[in-house]
Symmetry: C2
Subunit: 610 residues, 2 copies
């Protein structure tokens, strides 16, 4: 028994040791907490203007290069968009390629990637590099040689499911997700044994509690999160094109079981709508080793036409905290019950502490910035990240339910106008960073509104099942994006910069109070974390949708970021689509991207130093 | 009449004015003389170590990015490998894309490009940007708007012909070539009217004098260049696997007419072998406005199996000087009569003056560096560029004929070993530079030897007709490349640096005595022109097969070079071919490239400044 136990314990220690070493970057977001924070400070406010490109590495792959490289010891591991090649570069030897891995994936997989050929990067642990291929295969590669050690099939593209997330190594498990919210997939999150790839647990986003790994203690501290219905239909609700009035906490019926089935009310587009109910899990996951809880969000309910799925559609749009070893959910909070706008709840959950409290913050697509007590899910803060958010006026802090504005409700065959934010949210996959020094979050933002017209759509397994037509346009600032510093305790932004386009790349913040991120118009920027003042910028080869990171090598600090435009904002450009509604509405809103980028975007690793 | 004349005169003046302005780079090789020389000197030996990347632009296209951008006024024009996209970047506005041009080319064209999906760049003149597409279409684009003004079909991929050359604007003509030496194409060079794209003249590389635009005054100063046969068969010549002894000048029969027909002796692989005789013209052309002569070289005779085409195979492997207005040839010198190794003679001819003489120098694939009196073709210097050249011991300076070493003759079904250089020559398409200040040439080099086994091969129109199997390996230096300074008067190198791989990118030399070029292992380098000492290097995203250039903008000097590995050296890597003989022998010789480059190579423009 001791023998059995010792291996996971060792793996865990190794992870913690690695992520405490700021010369390395061994987790997608640097650490279990998803902070994107580094204590490195050689590059500081006074010398950052001298930052220059040290080297670049073209991946030879086009389209969206999301995520970031890993730096483990003296090796940098670089991944690419589809077909998800992996390169191990020797930092001691002018980045010579130690090994490369070229997955053989069927080209048809690309057809089930909703939002471009993206892949959010690699995981590391136990001497292995983990690659989650778009075609659903999770593969463990020997970090030294690139030889495949084990592989397993997580999702099946034939059913419309796929993967774009980075595998996350937490202790002795590899956690990976599922994409397919636009294909009527019933998604899940899975934990695999780091040693041999055996499935340890799998938790669905919809369906019976048993398959969702929801037990009796679920939402113990906030049983009202488990209410059967949080809205009262007004003027017929879905059925007659009315709207939804939040039910005060006192009138909610809770706790209820099997909400993953019972909040998919009749009439559904399909019998048992939860079976094709979405809830994709393609984001960034976090983990608290002390609580042994992992955190992640689920995405939109399928299909986008809300009229054909009355009810809260639980547990789409939900942040879950699950026991890492068993997968059993400790708490779950649904941010956007009965979604009418595709406000996927899958954005990262960042763990931090303040005033002796264990907190978790989350910047949701729906435009609200949330802070929770992460031990039990109690909602502490829920504020609009930008005043242009109009689908809801506020979140009822007692019930946790958004107060919807009926003006912006959507219904089949009605073209709802002026909804803010657009489907891609005030923030999408681009992860924020948190500095324990400034106690501030640094959040890359979209500033996009939309028209949204739900339409009838028939489910065919493996085929797109979107059920809505949309157009996108710049929000009231007249630009498509922004970047802000956010106070997670007050729910207010400390500073806010406009960006011409969505800031679709993830943020890095360092102990020298510098914030780094890249933009779709090809700038990599460094800001003063205190004021938001731009201190430096550099024009890379293609728009940035990757996350900035930093590492140290031989006493020198480096900042690294993938370029290669893509993702939802870039998909229309990459494919040369020009009808306003093409690319799920991105073609119109982002048409100016072709003035800043060659199409399709060419991928490259960019590494900067003083 | 005055009106008719004034336009060409104006166009000519404009060209000369533009190429005299060192802030611009309006010809493929900077000027009519093909020098690759700039008088800019802000970047100098003492500050070059501070050179850093100013910006990059990923083209979103993979494979060999040969050639260089043009800089006309405040606009940089960037081209790509197939499908030959063109971008106009506004240097006044952070390189914002003013216009882009996406040719619609049939993907099947790629099958008739022998040596990767390359394109050597754009031409400029008369307010038009000229693009020679791979599929044979030459198109004139409005330099301001990118709108197509005229287009014309130069070659036809269905017959195996294609284009990879840059169009060259000389006075009022656009000159363009033909590829297809490996497809049995009878190639030519063509001159089009810059105004409307009307064909002005076309000169074939083989065939009757009439079609070759060879008149009575051809080779007047050196009539022996027009000998019927320069070799005497020894031990049966082609027919019995023997070799070829150079005939002394006194015994040559000259001048003779119609050698483009009559030096294709019987038995040919096909009747009238000159009809499928190659002589491709895909190099860099030069022009002397005072003499009104343009210079270029023709490539290999088809097929590579020498046994099936006895005779000198004129006028393959020939440098021609032609009257720009009529195309009529003034002189022609065949460097490698009866080629047995694919030593295409298409490398650039550089025009320069010394000791009151009008000279032309040429660094041939066959390993000899030649200097001519460019007024009449008289051969002044012909020396080995590196002692490892072994197929010939020397050039007979009286006759101009190479003295072949029978040991390295090749014959059908015999695997000739240890031939140096390999088929890609001591230098291939990578153009040299010439500094009028140092009076030296700066020459990027291959250092590769080969085995070569001619095989029977049947001609099928539009299909490869190579007729030889080869392997390549490093020459005696143990490396695959080099870079040297060469004295065109003495025929000796002043200094010689080894390179791990072929230096497949073109050279730039500046008035501050700096030489710039890029390498296949991703370095862009600056050397001291006087000593060859490396003063600076930078690691770009992919191997360099483009030509370094320089320009000035708002008082600042920039150095620019395309990266994106490819061309013959990179084609096997780009296609993932690994059999030694794949990629016409490149796969074996260049297999180490995969340790330095992602495959396929991703294209990018790299611009450096202090
Ligand atoms: O519902 C889904 O399964 C799903 C998957 C993905 C994805 O995996 O890329 C995205 C989305 N939805 C989505 O809604 C979205 O905004 C989005 C943006 C991006 C991106 O990479 O830029 N992916 C996705
Ligand atoms: O015979 C021909 O038509 C032909 C064409 C080309 C070309 O157009 O790229 C090359 C060659 N030959 C050739 O022999 C050769 O070495 C070569 C190198 C390259 C290159 O771009 O790297 N092209 C070509």
């Amino acid at each position: 028994l001791l023998g059995l136990m010792s291996t996971p314990a060792f793996a865990d220690d190794e992870q913690l040791k690695l992520m405490n070493d700021d010369n390395q970057w061994t987790q997608p977001r640097k650490d279990y907490s998803n902070t994107g924070y580094s204590r490195l400070s050689q590059i500081n406010k006074s010398n950052v203007k001298k930052l220059k490109l040290a080297w670049t590495f073209a991946t030879g792959v086009n389209r969206g290069h999301e995520g970031a490289p890993l730096v483990v010891g003296d090796i940098m591991y670089v991944h690419t968009a589809f077909p998800n090649n992996v390169y191990a570069l020797d930092l001691n030897n002018d980045q010579k390629i130690v090994w490369s891995y070229f997955p053989k994936q069927d080209a048809s997989v690309q057809a089930v990637l909703c939002c471009d050929n993206v892949n959010k990067g690699l995981g590391y642990g136990d001497g292995k590099i983990f690659l989650q291929q778009n075609d659903g295969v999770l593969v463990a590669l020997d970090a030294k040689t690139g030889k495949a050690i084990w592989d397993t099939k997580v999702t099946d593209p034939k059913s419309g499911s796929s993967n774009t997330n980075a595998p996350h190594v937490f202790k002795d498990k590899v956690i990976t997700g599922c994409s397919g919210g636009e294909f009527g997939v019933r998604c899940y999150i899975s934990a695999y044994n780091i040693k041999d790839g055996a499935l340890v647990w799998r938790a669905y986003s919809t369906g019976p509690d048993e398959e969702m790994l929801i037990g009796k203690d679920f939402n113990k501290a906030n049983p009202h999160y488990s209410a059967l219905s949080v809205y009262e239909d007004v003027n017929g609700g879905n059925k007659l094109g009315g709207s939804f009035k939040a039910i005060p906490k006192e009138n909610l019926k809770y706790p209820e079981a099997n909400l993953g089935v019972r909040t998919w009310l009749k009439p559904q587009a399909r019998k048992d709508g939860w079976q094709t109910g979405g809830g994709p899990t393609w984001g960034w996951y976090s983990y608290d080793p002390a609580l042994n809880l992992m955190y992640y969000g689920t995405g939109n309910p399928g299909t986008w036409n809300p009229d054909v799925r009355p009810g809260d559609n639980k547990w789409s749009m939900t942040i879950f905290a699950r026991d890492l070893d068993t997968g059993v959910a400790k708490w779950g909070y649904q941010m956007t019950p009965h979604d009418e706008w595709d406000y996927d709840g899958m954005n990262e959950v960042v763990l931090w502490d303040a005033n002796g409290k264990k907190l978790a913050s989350h910047f949701d697509r729906n435009g609200f910035g949330y802070t929770f007590d992460r031990t039990n899910g109690t909602l502490l803060v829920a504020q609009k990240m930008n005043p242009f958010v109009n689908w809801a006026t506020s979140i009822d802090m007692k019930s946790g339910v958004p107060i919807k504005d009926p003006k912006y409700s959507t219904h089949q065959d009605y073209n709802a106008k002026g909804i803010c934010p657009s489907a891609l949210g005030v923030k999408d996959e681009q992860p924020s960073a948190f500095s324990p020094k400034t106690k501030m979050f640094y959040v890359p933002l979209n500033h996009v509104c939309m028209t949204y017209e739900p339409v009838e759509s028939k489910y065919v397994a493996g085929q797109p099942w979107v059920g809505s037509t949309l157009t996108m346009f710049a929000g009231p600032d007249g630009v498509m994006g922004g970047f802000m510093a956010w106070n997670g305790l007050t729910g207010k932004s400390a500073w806010y910069n406009k960006e011409k386009f969505s800031a679709w790349g993830g943020a890095l913040v360092t102990a020298s109070d510098l914030v780094f991120y890249g933009t779709l118009d090809r700038w990599v920027k460094a800001l003063d974390a205190k004021t938001g003042k731009e201190l430096w910028k550099f024009q890379v080869g293609s728009g940035v949708v990757g996350n900035a990171i930093t590492y140290g090598h031989k006493g020198k600090q480096y900042v690294a970021v993938l370029s290669g435009i893509g993702g939802w904002a870039g998909v229309a450009m990459n494919l040369g689509l020009t009808n306003e509604t093409d690319g799920l509405g991105a073609a119109g809103g982002y048409k100016e991207l072709t003035k800043y980028n060659a199409a399709p975007g060419g991928g490259a690793m960019n590494v900067f130093s003083l």
